[in-house]
Amino acid sequence: MNEAVVIPMEHGLLLAAILFLIGLLGVLVRRNIILILMSLEIMLNACGLAFIVAGAHWGIADGQIMFMLILSIAAAEVSVGLGLLLQAHRRFGSLDIDQASRMRG
């Protein structure tokens, strides 16, 4: 009788938090726009993981539904983000986010 191995919620949430922080750190320290977008994906997925873990813990489907939503939003975000990236590259000749600082006061 193999007892189902249950991963405790704390572990799942901890993993989500660590992923979120890694993503955030990536957004803050990376200058390449592509890598920033990738970091944003990591943050979104961290959120999704937190939803899944919480949904599994309480045994309801809401968490998975939220994850589906996040996936679709992420897809939209990436397509818009890549469009902006192309424009930025064309305009500034580089993918350095710090170059796009014309809005400073």
Binding site: V27, L28, D98, S101, R102, M103, R104, G105
Partner: protein, 616 residues
């Protein structure tokens, strides 16, 4: 009925609008037709009105509409014609028409012919509103209107900045008086609740005992307006400079009509002034002081128009003297005769100036008697009337004023003596002018004698100046009946004799040269006195030193407006905050993200640690 009265001021206004809208586009002949025609049609309407008034023998009124209606204050736009108004209407449209006809030739060479006539029409319209108004507020509209036209016409030749300065001086000095008058109006309204002449007078009589302080203050404030407009002490300094305008303007505005508006104002509100003996005595004092000061000044001047300007100030002084001693009818009578002979003198002076290519200095003229006969006879008749020689128009009015002054209970003989000295000086300076300009040797050859359009008004005015004394003005119902002069024989003989003595003195000094005054005028005291009088008792110097210069100094010191500092301080603080916060806007997306994370973390932390157990 009298429902056409509103057309009297409206027609010149239409003339103004027509000329002003088409400025300079119409041919000069058409401009003259419009400009003169509008005043002529007003004059015809005034004639109709006077026929109606004299048959009905009661005041006419014509209410148009309620101007504003707010909180119990509802002044009407309403016109009112009684004997006093009718006299003024006749003078304004009659003399105004003659001067317009004269101007149509006098100004013909001016490039701004159309602008000149549009301003003149506007002036006539405003002046008619002033005398037709049946409440003080509408009168004030006309009052300010004529002030504006005076400004525009004094500065008519604005290419010369001196003319602009004269126009500004006229405007600002009269504005001082107008402010006093406006405050007087507010005071009357606050206490009496209305500005319509008839109810206002009735309320004043029932509400205030004779000599009450509020009433006296209100009267003195109205007097302030009157002395500003009528160029009396202490605000008379603007009138001599106003001679910078074209000569017909000087004749119409600064001699015949506008400057007598102050006399009209006091005559119109005479029932209120009667309640305040102090105010009346002040009126008489102002008049007496002004007439003497201006007469002394006129003797020393050598600009032909300035002599006439000072004599205008002096003659209006007589009118104020008459008002102050309660001789209302004599004052208005003198106003009318003065309009005739002073308009005549100015227009004749204009004819002389026109023929001598804008020469104003009388010592460069001479012997013009044969060359300019029309101007000479006009000047002779005008000066005779001005000097009040017997049987001219000025004689009847000035004689009546002097005798009424003698009868006055307060300082009567003194006022009479001042008036008499003034009359002596008047005849000296007016015949000095005649003798120097028209007799002796020819100094400047005149050219281009005036055409009939200029001569005809002069002839009509000559006639009026001669026989104007026999006109009976219909003001018996307006003013309280004067007590019959019971003066003794000697006074009645001295008064008319004095002007003749003056003419004789002028003859001896300036024509036959049998009396030599050069040793006296060349003495130290004579020179000082001459300079003192020439500068009009140093009044311009006085105002310049004690008002204009300190004001200019203050304005200069206060160049960085002190009041502005308060507002600038607020602005500076906000600008400083702006400079500080601007540093946070780096344009670095990553910084923004970092700050957002920090802020979010702070908020979450606060929510967690302060909310404590309530979190789910």
């Amino acid at each position: 009925m009298a429902d056409y009265i509103y057309l009297i001021p409206l027609l010149p206004l239409i003339g103004f609008l027509l000329l002003f809208a088409t400025l300079g586009k119409l041919p000069k002949a058409l401009v003259a037709v419009v400009g003169v025609g509008s005043v002529a049609s007003s004059a015809i309407l005034v004639l109709l009105t006077s026929v109606e008034f004299l048959t009905l023998r009661e005041p006419l009124s014509n209410t148009l509409y309620t101007w504003i209606n707010v909180g119990g204050f509802s002044p009407l736009v309403s016109f009112y014609v009684d004997g006093l108004t009718l006299t003024m209407l006749s003078v304004i449209t009659g003399v105004g028409l003659l001067i317009h006809i004269y101007s149509s030739l006098f100004m013909l060479d001016d490039k701004d012919y159309s602008r000149f006539f549009s301003y003149m029409n506007l002036f006539v319209s405003a002046m008619l509103v002033l005398v037709l108004a049946d409440n003080l507020l509408l009168l004030f509209v006309g009052w300010e209107g004529v002030g504006l036209c005076s400004y525009l016409l004094v500065g008519f030749w604005h290419e010369d900045s001196a003319n602009g300065a004269a126009a500004r001086k006229a405007f600002i000095v009269t504005r001082v008086g107008d402010t006093a008058m406006a405050i007087g109006m507010f005071l009357l309204f606050v206490h009496l609740g209305t500005l319509d002449f008839a109810p206002m007078t009735a309320a004043a009589i029932s509400q205030w005992p004779e000599g009450s302080p509020t009433l006296t203050i209100a009267c003195l404030l109205l007097l302030g307006g009157a002395v500003g407009k009528s160029a009396q002490l202490p605000l008379q300094i603007w009138l001599p400079d106003a001679m910078a305008g074209p000569t017909p303007v000087s004749a119409l505005i600064h001699a015949a009509t506008m400057v007598t508006a102050g006399v009209y104002l006091i005559a119109r509100t005479h029932e209120i002034f009667l309640l305040s003996p102090f105010a009346l005595n002040t009126v008489a004092t102002v008049g007496a002081a002004t007439l003497l000061m201006a007469a002394f000044t006129a003797i020393t001047q050598h600009d032909i128009k300035r002599i006439l300007a000072y004599s205008t100030i002096s003659q209006i002084g007589y009118m104020f003297l008459a008002l102050g001693v309660g001789a209302w009818a004599s004052s208005i009578f003198h106003l009318m005769t003065h309009a005739f002979f002073k308009a005549l003198l100015f227009l004749a002076a204009g004819a002389v100036i026109y023929s001598l290519h804008h020469e104003h200095n009388i010592f460069k003229m001479g012997g013009l008697r044969k060359k300019l006969p029309v101007a000479f006879w006009s000047f002779l008749i005008g000066s005779a009337a001005l000097a009040a020689l017997p049987f001219t128009s000025g004689f009847y009015s000035k004689d009546a004023i002097l005798l009424a002054a003698y009868e006055n209970a307060w300082q009567g003989p003194l006022l009479w003596a001042i008036g008499l000295l003034g009359a002596l000086l008047t005849s000296i300076y007016s015949f000095r002018l005649v003798f120097i300009v028209f007799f002796g040797e020819v100094k400047t050859e005149p050219s281009q004698p005036a055409g009939w359009l200029m001569a005809a008004p002069l002839l009509v005015l000559c006639l009026l100046a001669l026989v104007g004394g026999f006109i009976v003005i219909p003001v018996m119902d307006v003013f309280p009946a004067a007590t019959g002069p019971a003066h003794d024989g000697l006074i009645a003989i001295i008064t008319p004799a004095v002007p003749i003595i003056g003419v004789a003195i002028a003859y001896l000094i300036f024509l036959s040269h049998s009396v030599d005054i050069s040793t006296w005028t060349n003495s130290k005291m004579g020179k000082t006195l001459n300079r003192f009088w020439f500068s009009h008792w140093a009044m311009d110097w006085f105002y310049d030193t004690f008002i204009v210069k300190p004001y200019a100094w203050m304005a200069n010191v206060n160049r960085m407006d002190i009041v502005d500092w308060c507002y600038n301080f607020t602005a500076d603080v906000i600008r400083l905050l702006h400079e500080l916060t601007i540093q946070s806007q780096t344009g670095q997306l990553r910084t923004y993200a970092g700050v957002m994370v920090l802020g979010l973390a702070t908020i979450v932390a606060i929510a967690l640690f302060s909310g404590g157990g309530t979190a789910p």
